[in-house]
Amino acid sequence: METRATLLQVDGLTVALPTRSGYQKAVDGLSFAVDAGQVMGIAGESGSGKTITALSLFGLLPHGARVSGSIRLDGTELLGLGTKQLRAIRGRQIAMVSQDPATALHPILPIGTQLTEHMRHHLGVSKDEALSRAAALLETVRIPDPLQALRSYPGQFSGGMRQRVAIAVALAAEPRLLVADEPTTALDVTVQAGILRLLDRLCRERGMAVIVITHDLGVMSAIARRLYVMYAGRLAEAGPASQLLASPRHPYTQGLLDALPHPEAGGAPLVPIGGSPPSLGNVPAGCPFHPRCRYARPSCATERPEPEPVADQHLLACPPDPLRAAS
């Protein structure tokens, strides 16, 4: 069952953060859309602006941040909403799972309280109803003995279990969009596999939309339908995940894929991208990736590339387009 309705539409999102050297753009003219029942992925290294993008959806940017553009959830503009209105949307319409479950859960409140206060506030259900829903949620995220777990504290669970509990808390008010920022980065592959399967199932069964933010392209390949690759706050390449990962066209996407160990490559050395991503305020002119790019030509240092459609639903911000040049 698939719904094609666009749930979230972001246009020209630009976020400038105050630094010692004035305002610097952490996100620069980013546009994307997420459909209900779909997993969308945002990939990029640290400093690429992916976490700031997520925070801007919740109106949780650092103090003094300047935001422009548009973020529409089901047609409602979120930018410019007051605290009270945002509170009604946070948790209820959109919820977040962060990388570190230890900071997402209150250490000295029982799991049951953390799961139910949410539901009672947003859904207005009774305490008993909330508790039985909470137990069912814990079962959904495969916590053994949910009734016992409701009385337990976060410290009594392992890292993988805590992340599953954090996901349960995020799901408590039945949000329509879940934003998962590096949800499995700190976890073992076995636990990661379980959580990816869970997110996939929730999308298919509940029609929930998910934005997964990670630098792990393996995770993207497993669950994301559409993929946005960000570099230095800008979109480098976007398209169907299968297409982007099988035949990447942006040199940065290619570089990220080449840097991964390939199961078939045997003992060959990894092929890293030279250099490191620019920090806030030191983003190179022109194409931000040009100093690290093996296909760069002189114009790349001066002309800023805009995302252009190169194939069906495939956007590319790279005029030299190595794939086109090669053929």
């Binding site: 636990v191 990816l196 339908r225 990220l256």
Partner: protein, 324 residues
């Protein structure tokens, strides 16, 4: 292996928790040769970091021996490391915490040289050499750690360990705190240092793909024990222990095929009360009744050692294999 640079034999490490004794490592054997990379993998809580720390003397041993360059170095206290142990160095996970933020890179590296008896001038000269060796400009010596990215800091931390002219490195998750492109750079750097300097390297990582790429041999740990060990290619191409199989199947591949990785249900059990018999049996897809009773020991199967009597055929199986 004729002459291992580091040999761990029957290592046991205990932790105390509320008056209870917990065996974090239980009879682990591991040897590392010169010029060899041994990968140590397993889920969190399996004891791989404890083993790394025990190898360099950061965890007291409840049993077993550590032999470094042919000398028994087991009974060392933490207070003082003898001179010859300087050849055994550790690289830590978080380069943000392992470098003193108030000292320059040059000073940090020169400390290692001076501890080995070198002069200040030696320290400065060698710091420049080592920075070059790990791929940083010599001018970096005058900068402070906060001026560098995670990957660069890990290079600095590695340069500092090299100042002691080690013959063996123990690296505990050296790349897991780094960005994707920095991970590949650091993994390559470590491999290159091992080959060029004929060092031994124990690489602890929960990232199996990276271990596969750089390690010559791989040891898979589960709940304080090694369950499979052998040549990386052999183990990877055809894992024989059901736990190794599950780990390999759980790795998502970035091929765009959209295939969900295979889930291994359950969590690593509490080491305070390990399951009887084979410690993996409660999560094992091919477990038989006998697995609840029989303790598993490593046995040679198809070119690698595994601790699984079902797969090694050490005990005639009462149930058909298709049970899984």
């Amino acid at each position: 292996m004729s002459d291992p640079v580091l040999q761990l034999s029957a290592i046991a490490v205990d932790y105390g928790r509320r008056g209870q004794r917990i065996r974090a490592l239980d009879g682990v054997d591991l040897a590392v040769g010169r010029g060899e990379i041994v990968g140590l993998v397993g889920e969190s809580g399996c004891g791989k970091s404890t083993l790394a720390r025990a190898a360099v003397g950061l965890e007291p041993l409840a049993a077993g021996t550590v032999t470094f360059e042919g000398r028994n170095v087991t009974s060392l206290g933490r207070r003082r490391r003898p001179e010859h142990l300087r050849g055994l160095q550790m690289v830590f996970q978080d380069p943000y915490e392992s470098l003193n933020p108030r000292r320059t890179i040059g000073e940090l590296i020169a400390d290692g040289v001076r501890l080995g008896g070198g002069s200040r001038t030696d320290g400065r000269r060698r710091a420049a050499e080592l920075l070059d060796r790990v791929g940083l400009p010599a001018g970096a010596a005058g900068s402070y750690p906060h001026e560098f990215s995670g990957g660069q800091r890990q290079r600095i931390a590695i340069a500092r360990t090299l100042a002691a002219r080690p013959s063996c490195l123990i690296a505990d998750e050296p790349i897991s705190a780094l960005d994707a492109s920095a991970q590949a750079q650091i993994a390559n750097l470590l491999a290159e240092l091992v080959r060029d300097g004929n060092l031994g390297l124990v690489l602890v990582s929960h990232d199996l793909a990276v271990v596969r790429q750089v390690a010559d041999r791989v040891a898979v740990m589960y709940l304080g024990r090694i369950v499979e060990i052998g040549d990386t290619e052999t183990v990877w191409a055809s894992p024989r222990h059901p736990y190794t199989e599950a780990l390999v199947a759980a790795i998502p591949r970035a091929d765009g095929a959209g295939v969900l990785p295979v889930d291994l249900p359950g969590d690593v059990p509490d080491p305070a009360s390990p399951p009887p018999g084979c410690r993996f049996h409660p999560r094992c897809p091919v477990a038989q009744d006998s697995c609840r009773e029989l303790d598993q020991r490593l046995a040679l199967v198809a070119g690698r050692q595994i601790a699984c009597h079902v797969r090694s055929g050490a005990v005639p199986s009462a149930l058909p294999e298709s049970d899984g």
